[in-house]
């Protein structure tokens, strides 16, 4: 009997080992919500995509931020992407800190936000009660707000000093405003009184409200703050440039995040799709976007050196355009797919042109694509 018990125990412990087996090849998966990088979530998983679940959340009008004077050492920068205002603080020795002012059309769970900032400085997550304790009362433009101050215990990867984040937040109408200072811990701490004074001093000018942005593609995913699509911040809908559409490109209504979309049909009904989008700032950078496109056709990421081999630069009316050409397999359809992309930085915007579809159709359209990109006239272009 003891032998029986021992043998049961021995067999029961075999789970710890690595298993090797042959499994039938998987049938194409049933459609499930996919994030923008093509990752599929398990059933019941909260949506983590940027423009997916809550796309259509409309940005209310953003009042203009007004201040009488800036603290010493603060220099205003052109606001980019989601920022309503942006500043750089530099001291005499060249130490820098970044100040951002971001209005968002969300309430969000305060604890999730606090934990997101804590995570940025490698601090463990906080509880509701602790988060409340960490908040200091602050006056923002004559209204009540909260100030959070958190610093990393050690220098973060890639920096010599500890990092400190100061965030003041307030709810005003339909917008949550975030004022954030990020930089070397001691320097940011020294700037704290100036920051608090600046917060008191500001006001909101409703008459100069910026036009509502079209679709920020933002939302709260499963209680987690989720505010970008594909690693990009959107800067609202810029004016469409002037372009000449080739005869066989058929304009179709664009979906959210896109400014224009065309269907291109080649011989034997093979298809490709041409899309135009524009984002504020560098939109994550060229490398991130090249890798995003590579992933869409099932290719692994490349580094800077690898990317340089697959891109070329052409002259466009608004400056230089970077051409990207990748061929792979579309994860959704399993068909061989080619992406011909062009990235054109224009002022504080980056424009993306992408033709994706049947490789033969894309090859046929390459000249038309290049000409289209080269001849676009951008509004406000020099």
């Amino acid at each position: 009997m003891t032998g029986l018990v021992l043998s049961l125990a021995t067999v029961g412990c075999k789970r710890e080992q690595v298993r090797e087996y042959q499994a039938p090849q998987e049938a194409p998966p049933a459609p499930a919500p996919a994030t923008q990088t093509g990752q599929t979530l398990p059933p019941g998983h909260p949506d983590i995509s940027g423009g997916g679940g809550n796309a259509g959340l409309t940005m209310p009008a953003v009042p203009k931020l007004v201040w009488k004077s800036l603290p010493e050492g603060w220099v205003e920068k052109a606001p980019s992407a989601m920022r309503a205002a942006s500043f750089e603080i530099t001291n005499s020795t060249g130490v820098m800190a970044d100040v951002s002012v971001i209005p968002l059309p969300i309430g969000g769970r305060e604890l999730d936000l606090v934990n997101m900032w804590r995570q940025q400085v490698s601090l463990p997550p906080s509880s509701d009660a602790d988060a409340d304790k960490e908040a200091a009362a602050v006056t923002i433009g004559g209204e009540k707000g909260k100030l959070f101050d958190m610093a990393s215990a050690q220098p973060l990867q890639g920096s010599a000093d500890r990092t400190r984040i100061l965030v003041a937040m307030m709810q005003r109408g339909q917008l949550s405003w975030f004022f954030k200072v990020t930089g070397a811990a001691e320097f940011v701490e020294a700037q704290k009184p100036a920051f608090v004074e600046f917060l008191k001093d500001i006001s909101f000018d409703e008459t100069a409200a910026a036009a509502p942005a079209a679709d920020m593609g933002m939302g709260m995913g499963g209680g987690t703050m989720d505010m970008s699509g594909g690693g990009m911040g959107t800067g609202g809908s810029p004016d469409l440039p002037e372009w000449t559409v080739p005869a066989n490109w058929k304009s179709v209504p664009p979906t959210s995040m896109l400014l224009a979309k065309f269907d291109v049909t080649g011989s034997s009904n093979a298809k490709a799709e041409m899309t135009v989008s524009s984002f504020g700032g560098p939109a994550g950078g060229l490398l991130a976007n090249v890798n995003r496109w590579r992933r869409q056709v099932g290719l692994g990421p490349v580094d800077e050196a690898g990317m340089d081999k697959m891109i070329s630069t052409i002259d466009a009316s608004g400056g230089k355009a970077t051409l990207v050409d990748v061929v792979g397999t579309d994860a959704k359809s399993g068909a061989q797919t080619r992406i011909l992309g062009a990235v054109v930085p224009q002022g504080d915007q980056t424009w993306f042109y992408k033709m994706m579809g049947n490789p033969a159709v894309v090859e046929d359209q390459k000249a038309a694509f290049t000409q289209f990109v080269q001849t676009i006239k951008y509004p406000h272009a020099p």
Binding site: E16, R19, Q22, Q25, A30, T37, P124, D226, S228
Partner: protein, 389 residues
């Protein structure tokens, strides 16, 4: 002399009573503990253990303060067997006692085997979909998959979650062209796309999906209606050096790693158990009591296709009417709609493999039969004695 005393102690009725009292205490406190510790954790700590450990607050010390379910069960079993042999007498008059004891032993051994061999998994599919595997509701596996050299399906190397929870552990498998070094394991985590304006910290990993994501460790959830989504950060390396750090997360699909012209797909997924047959969900029926949301009947019509037995038939699985097939029991568990296509029904079956499922029935039968035999023998003897008087 000493041996005698030991045997007497092991086979004593006093030990039986002490074990039974301890079992009652364990069941009582183990049941209460499920409120704070969650069902699975409490079961593991109180019942599937030799000792119940206690850690004083703020220390790393561990003290056993109660014998666990395994210890109590084992001592009871040894006690029962020892008592049986010590007082064993091959007489017809003791037949009932022997049968009852055999039933009790079978109950204890059966429970132990159920505990060790039974497996609860889930099968989730939408109408029209076919499934040939079930998944664990809570345990994950790290898998590396590559097309099989013989062209038949995929080769899968599966690393159990228990090997991923130790930082620094290096996992080597002869079939994999790289070694895996565990950096950090998160029992529960959430990820989202990196937001350049907010995420100034380094990404969780340098290769695969990692550079585009931000990882948030989450507290472990313990209730049965929530599920942890584990994540692990790994470093892969071969003789040429590091292949980068990778984030494997149970909420992501497969990531590709190409080494020596061979591509492997990597994923952390809920542990899969493949079946030798397949099941297709034909239709779901979801009935509620009129005017309420209270479920009256969940019913799944499934088509079983077994290439081994050439069986192909449709069966209905509904509440209180499980399907027993291929050594498994399929219970209707949950029902809903497909997340993408609302017109399609989704059904989740709980799939239980329990090779010892008959032992409680046989054990109870033996105990009942033994007691009946013993009672009848006494009754007959009593009647006979009355007649002679």
């Amino acid at each position: 002399m000493l041996l005698d005393r030991i045997v007497r102690f092991i086979s004593s009725l006093r030990l039986t009573v002490v074990c039974l009292i301890l079992a009652i205490i364990l069941v009582f406190f183990g049941t209460l503990a499920q409120v704070n510790e969650g069902l699975y954790n409490a079961q593991a700590r109180w019942f599937r253990s030799f000792f119940v450990w206690w850690t004083p607050g703020g220390t790393d010390w561990r003290f056993p303060f109660l014998p666990g379910g395994y210890l109590v069960g084992t001592v009871l079993l040894v006690n029962l067997i020892a008592a049986h042999f010590q007082r064993f007498a091959l007489k017809w008059s003791k037949l009932g006692i022997h049968v009852t004891h055999a039933g009790l032993i079978l109950l204890l051994v059966g429970q132990l085997s159920t505990d060790m061999f039974s497996r609860e998994t889930l099968m989730s599919f939408n109408e029209g979909e076919t499934a040939n595997y079930t998944v664990s509701p809570s345990i994950t596996e790290l898998v590396f998959i590559t097309p099989a050299a013989n062209g038949k399906g995929d080769d899968v190397i599966s690393i159990p979650q228990s090997l991923l929870t130790h930082p620094g552990k290096v996992i080597h498998n002869a079939k994999l062209p790289f070694d895996i070094r565990v950096q950090t394991f998160y029992v529960n985590a959430a990820v989202r796309q990196r937001a350049p304006m907010m995420d100034t910290n380094p990404p969780p990993a340098t290769a695969g999906f990692g550079p585009d994501l931000t990882l948030f460790p989450q507290p472990e959830v313990k209730t049965t209606d929530e599920r942890n989504t584990p994540a692990v950060i790994l470093e892969l390396s071969n003789a040429k050096g590091s292949l980068g750090t990778w984030l494997a997360y149970a909420g992501l699909s497969e990531q590709e790693i190409t080494v020596d012209n061979r591509t492997w797909r990597m994923a952390l997924r809920f542990e899969r158990h493949y079946l030798p047959f397949s099941m297709k969900l034909l239709k779901t029926k979801h009935e509620v009591y009129r005017g309420t949301d209270i479920p009256r009947n969940f019913q799944s019509r499934v088509q079983i296709d077994n290439p081994v037995t050439h069986e192909s038939r449709a069966v209905d699985i509904y509440m209180n009417n499980p399907l027993r097939y291929g050594g498994l029991t399929f219970y209707q568990y949950q029902m809903g709609r497909d997340q993408v296509d609302e017109r399609r029904g989704n059904s989740v079956l709980q799939v239980v493999r329990n090779p010892g499922w008959l032992t409680p029935y046989i054990g109870c039968g033996l105990v009942g039969g033994g007691l009946l035999i013993q009672f009848l023998m006494h009754l007959v003897k009593f009647i006979k004695r009355r007649r002679t008087v």
